[in-house]
């Protein structure tokens, strides 16, 4: 087996993952990036999306929302506001949230309220990420 990197995901409600994994892919500021063992020190903000990692040939997928991630000395730490396992995601709820957010976005078009638009946009992103992660699990 190739070298592994230590993955750690912490959220305000507790540590979620702490494992040695082969590869991590995450939604960074400039797009999805992958991290293998012995990566150079790296610091990036994290967008809402899917955090995937591979361990012993098996793929795992998590939904993360905003935060940042730090890579140092063969260890990758995600400090995010929330993180959900695929099995915890309620797909129906996520789909409903997606519809709601889309409706709100359509309504707010052309309006001055930028705050609400940003909030709806974030909600939509979260819903989409949840659906994506959940679908991966069902396959």
């Amino acid at each position: 087996m190739a070298e592994t990197i230590e993955l750690e995901v912490v959220t305000p409600s507790g540590p979620v993952v702490s494992e040695n994994v082969d590869i991590v892919t995450a939604p960074g500021y400039a797009g999805v990036f992958g991290v293998l063992a012995n990566h150079a020190p790296f610091l990036s903000t994290i967008k809402i999306g899917e955090l995937a990692y591979k361990k012993d040939g098996k793929e795992f997928s998590l939904m993360v929302s905003g935060g940042f991630c730090e890579v140092s000395t063969n260890k990758i730490t995600f400090i995010v506001e929330s993180c959900e396992q695929g099995s915890d995601i309620d797909v129906d709820r996520a789909l409903r949230a997606k519809e709601r957010a889309e409706k709100r976005l359509a309504q707010s078009k052309g309006q001055q309220e930028k705050v609400n638009e940003a909030r709806a946009q974030a909600a939509l992103q979260r819903a989409l990420a949840r659906v994506r992660v959940a679908e991966k699990r069902s396959r």
């Binding site: 540590p15 610091l43 940042f68 929330s82």
Partner: protein, 291 residues
């Protein structure tokens, strides 16, 4: 001399009170466990966060609105208290500390405003007319997003120049038996520098690849840092409230028991006196019949 009936009614009453205080003690013990768990869960996040923050601010320099040090004209005091009372001097300690601090600032001719998290503080400070905003009834079930909302509001107020300095007063949860009122400096955010971190930062952060630039990450990180601080103080209050109530209720239960034993003593004495009186009557009657 109270009558026998009066004393026995009182004993029953005090016993009932002690049942209630005992129940409250046990409820608080159970809730404390939950709150403490929440606090412990948050700990790794806060720790990692501060480490990264130290790493970053060691290497980064620049002007950030939240770090801007201005001549202090107006101070905002964020008072974090519990929503409910019956927890001894828990809340009054915080309020007293906040008032002292405010008095000190006002003596220097600075304007003071309050933001209250928790009902007890807001009930108190609303009377002063200096309360800018309050958040009530969120102590029981707050989440990170509650803290974020509060932090955003405070940050917006700071950036708009309404306040030049923000302090947070809360009770630090040292242990179940001890909670200390603490004065925490929130804004402007001071760069984290501890000597140990200094070396680490010089060694590693120089080689870091930043995405986006370290300056841009800082602008994302600083509001988050406020969230962390406020969320943490709320967690501490959440756990401290229950711990303080446990102690207060334990004391109350003990006091009830003391009163009950005192009253029982009075009751027995009164009963004894009554019996003696009755006996005297009987003996006196018998003597009279004999004669």
């Amino acid at each position: 001399m109270p009558s026998l009936k009066d004393v026995s009614t009182k004993i029953v009453g005090v016993k009932k009170t002690s049942q209630i205080t005992k129940a409250m003690n046990m409820v608080s013990a159970a809730k404390l466990r939950g709150a403490q768990q929440k606090m412990e869960n948050f700990h790794p996040y806060a720790e990692k966060f501060n480490k990264t923050m130290a790493n970053l601010s060691g290497g980064a320099s620049g002007d950030y609105p939240l770090m801007e040090v201005r001549d202090v004209q107006a101070v905002e005091i964020v008072v974090v208290t519990s929503d409910r009372g019956l927890c001894g001097s828990f809340n009054s300690n915080i309020i007293r500390m906040a008032e002292k601090l405010a008095a000190k600032y006002e003596a220097d001719g600075k304007k003071v405003s309050y933001v209250c998290i928790g009902k007890k503080g807001s009930n108190y400070f609303r009377k002063t007319g200096k309360m800018r905003k309050d958040y009530r009834d969120i102590m029981g079930t707050f989440q990170m997003f509650n803290a974020r909302e509060i932090a955003q509001d405070i940050a917006a107020n700071f950036e708009a120049g309404e306040t030049d300095e923000v302090k947070v007063i809360y009770n630090h949860f040292r242990s179940v038996a001890k909670q200390e009122p603490t004065n925490l400096h929130l804004l402007p955010i001071k760069p984290v520098e501890s000597e140990e971190e200094e070396g680490a930062a010089a060694g590693s952060s120089g080689d870091y690849i930043y995405e986006p630039s370290s300056e841009e990450i800082m602008t994302v990180l600083l509001p988050l840092y406020m969230n962390v601080m406020i969320y943490n103080s709320m967690l501490q209050i959440g756990a401290g409230e229950h711990a303080a109530r446990m102690t207060a209720m334990d004391n109350a239960t003990n006091a009830c028991n003391d009163i009950v034993s005192e009253l029982t003593m009075i009751y027995n004495k009164a009963r004894q006196a009554a019996i003696t009186g009755d006996l005297m009557d009987i003996v006196g009657g018998a003597e009279a019949l004999k004669g």
